[in-house]
């Protein structure tokens, strides 16, 4: 046992005292935030200019109401849209001219509102790009609203009365958890879970692959046989997994301290904003628990892959099946975020490989009954014991073999070796 501790100590030291680890620990959160808020930030940046829309209004009744409907402003105070009226006659006379201007980028959007728009005629949207779904939908909705108003008036109804009568009902969401009621928005819930899920996914992937690299290093540098003369292959493999895993937990601990620090600073300077962020201690606890479970499942498999291979290239190819086992639950978890109470979510969250991400999500989103959590953990612990058994068999034989990549039948044979 003391040998295992020595191995863990060495592994931990060589992992933690590297530039890569220190940089990763500091830059990791920044990178993550960048990934989440970056796209939105850049999208805002690119929209900081008013958008010119040329409108050919054949119906002759819509242009003026539309100016009111397109009156929102950008964050710098400029109007977001500038509508330019084009006489239909002018447009049809010099149609080629207008089209050319669109192609050359002088006009960004040209809208043609047909004469029968109130009776169901189609709007024509001309632009170099028709992939900006949000923008197109927003334009369609605004025009649709105005057309509706006109239709109501023509039918002799009072639009204001109608909008009052068909007013939508708002919904307030309250989560019941441990007898407490917390008022939380669906969006907040989603973002908190999503951030934790991302961290879980990335760290399991990174540290799992880290175990594989480390096993492969000991194999290719041939130090492994020297170590085998002091301890056995099982201890070496477990020491490796625990060593890399504890480095991961240390990284989490640093990140937690960092976020607690940020939290205190932020709640002192902007208390209102911080009301929005609610991460319970339970979330942290389950996060760490499911990291440990997920890490062990994948790390044992990665250790076996590392022991099978003789080169980095081989390892990259051989680790693909294991990596897919991480990616699939990650993709499935997007479905679970949308529908955390579905039967599929309930069943999948019990299955090894899926449990770490899916059960964690369900716990943060719907607080499933305790027995489900305990059962999932139990099933996963049994699975881990099985993976440890299989991997240690593969590790013991593979770690001493060099040369060509083993085939699946050969690996099955290894399991039977005494």
């Amino acid at each position: 046992m003391d040998r295992v501790i020595k191995i863990i100590k060495r592994e931990f030291k060589t992992k933690v005292l590297t530039k890569g680890f220190i940089i990763g620990t500091i830059l990791g959160p920044i990178f993550l935030l960048g990934m989440i808020f970056g796209p939105a930030f850049f999208m805002n940046l690119s929209e900081e200019e008013p958008l010119q829309i040329e409108v050919v209004d054949e119906s002759a009744i819509l242009f003026n109401p539309l100016i009111k409907a397109f009156d929102d402003t950008l964050s710098n105070g400029q109007p977001r849209f500038i509508l330019i009226p084009i006489e239909p006659r002018v447009y049809y006379n010099r149609r080629e001219n207008f089209r050319q201007r669109i192609e050359e980028g002088e006009t960004s959007i040209l809208l043609i509102l047909p004469q029968d728009i109130v009776d169901g005629g189609e709007i024509t949207y001309l632009s170099r790009s028709v992939s900006e779904m949000d923008l197109i939908q927003s334009i369609r909705r605004r025009i649709n609203d105005e057309v509706n108003q006109i239709r109501l008036k023509q039918a002799g109804l009072d639009p204001q009365q109608i909008s009052k009568l068909t007013r939508r009902i708002d919904i307030k969401t309250i989560k019941i958890e441990k007898g407490k009621e917390t008022e939380r928005g669906v969006g907040q819930e989603f973002i908190t879970s999503f951030i934790f899920l991302m961290i879980l996914y990335m760290t399991i992937l990174l540290y799992g692959a880290g175990v594989m690299r480390s096993v492969l290093e000991e194999k290719t540098s041939r130090i492994i046989e020297v170590l085998l003369s002091s301890s056995n292959s099982f201890n070496l493999m477990m020491g490796k997994i625990f060593g890399v895993g504890s480095a991961g937990l240390v990284q989490y601990a640093i990140w937690s301290l960092m976020s607690v620090g940020v939290f205190f600073v932020a709640s002192a300077s902007a208390p209102k904003l911080m009301d929005q962020v609610t991460i319970s201690r339970d979330t942290f606890f389950f996060f760490a628990l499911f990291f440990v479970i997920g890490f062990f499942q994948f790390a044992t498999l990665y250790a076996a892959v590392g022991a099978m291979c003789s080169t980095q290239d081989d390892a990259q190819a051989m680790s693909v099946p294991v990596t897919i086992l991480i990616i699939i639950p990650f993709l499935v978890s997007f479905m679970v975020i949308n529908n955390p109470t579905s039967d599929a979510a309930q069943i999948l969250s019990m299955i090894p490989f899926f449990t770490p991400m899916l059960m964690f999500l369900r716990i943060t989103l719907v607080a499933p009954p305790a027995w489900e959590i305990i059962a999932a953990i139990g099933i996963n612990l049994i699975a881990i014991l099985f993976f440890v058994w299989v991997s240690s068999k593969i590790y013991r034989v593979g770690i001493l073999l060099h040369g060509k990549r083993p085939t699946v039948p050969e690996i099955v044979k290894w399991l039977k070796y005494k």
């Binding site: 041939r222 130090i223 046989e225």
Partner: protein, 302 residues
């Protein structure tokens, strides 16, 4: 007392018998050579002694006890493929391997420094292993093998890849450890090395024991009567003598192998009456190398 006793160990991979029912024992304090051509099963045997590979059948006893993991602490093992942590510093590397043999970290550090001093590597102590020359790395490897003063040393092809300086260095150290009471097993396919060093040998081929026992006795048993003759003049008649079994004529000297029952002295008497000049007459012992080639070569050619 036997330092090591191996009883009927066998290891089969698929249908290939890497080691086939091998038994031998080594007395404490002896230097034992496990000899054989490449692929004979030497490395597999040594790995089984270290419990790195588990035999399909057979037993291994260390100092008359059944092998357990704790015995690894009293063994120093040098694998055929040398391995170091290229990115660790010299001192960290040795300290770690010392600790893996059950030394406390302070003790491991102290002993490491002592050995580094003896090997003239003290100034490299804080350098990473990958910065050292190959010769220095080999020295680090020996230190790691012997730093915990093992009672039993198992060395797989210890001289392969060594320069002459390190070869002598290693030999001196082995002799010293032997004097201090250590038992040493080394495998080699270099017979002249084995001949100079070993007390006892076990020659294996294709996974089976071919010869084993005391080196001197075995050489007498399997050796031939041979004579090295340096001459000038016409000596072609020697080839036709009835007592000659085999002869290699190199022009200035010939190596003659006599038939069983004839002695070098009988040949000497015949030569004395002939008209040619004998410059040197040497009754030579057959080298281990010749025995090796005779037995192994003979068998492999059918």
């Amino acid at each position: 007392m036997n330092a090591l006793r191996v009883e009927n160990i066998t290891k089969t991979y698929d249908s290939f018998k890497a080691v086939d029912n091998i038994s031998f024992s080594i007395q404490e304090g002896r230097l034992f050579g496990l000899l054989g051509p490449n692929g004979a099963g030497k490395t597999t045997t040594m790995r089984m002694i270290m419990n790195i590979i588990i035999p399909d059948s057979g037993k291994i006893f260390l100092f008359d006890e059944t092998f357990t993991e704790k015995h690894k602490d009293i063994i120093g093992y040098l694998p055929e493929e040398r391995g170091l942590y290229p990115k660790m510093t010299l001192i960290d590397h040795l300290q770690f391997l010392g600790e893996m043999k059950g030394m406390s970290s302070t003790e491991a550090k102290k002993i490491s420094l002592q050995w580094l001093g003896r090997f003239n590597l003290l100034e490299w102590e804080g350098k990473k292993i990958q910065e050292l020359s190959k010769g220095m790395q080999q020295k680090v490897q020996f230190i790691a093998t012997i730093m915990h003063s093992p009672k039993l040393l198992i060395l797989d092809e210890p001289f392969s890849g060594l320069d002459p300086v390190n070869t002598k260095f290693l030999k001196d150290i082995l002799m010293q450890l032997k004097q201090e009471g250590a038992t040493i097993i080394l495998s080699t396919h270099l017979m002249d090395q084995a001949e100079k060093l070993c007390d006892d040998i076990c020659l294996i081929n294709k996974g089976r024991v071919v010869i084993q026992g005391n080196l001197r006795e075995k050489k007498e048993e399997y050796g031939h009567n041979s004579v090295i003759l340096e001459y000038s003049g016409d000596a072609s008649f020697v080839r036709n003598l009835s007592m000659v079994e085999k002869l290699n004529d190199y022009g200035n000297y010939m190596a003659i192998q006599l038939k069983d029952g004839s002695t070098p002295h009988q040949l000497f008497q015949i030569l004395a009456g002939k008209k040619f000049e004998v410059k040197k007459f040497e009754a030579a012992e057959t080298s281990l190398n010749e025995i090796f080639i005779d037995i192994v070569g003979g068998k492999s050619h059918g």
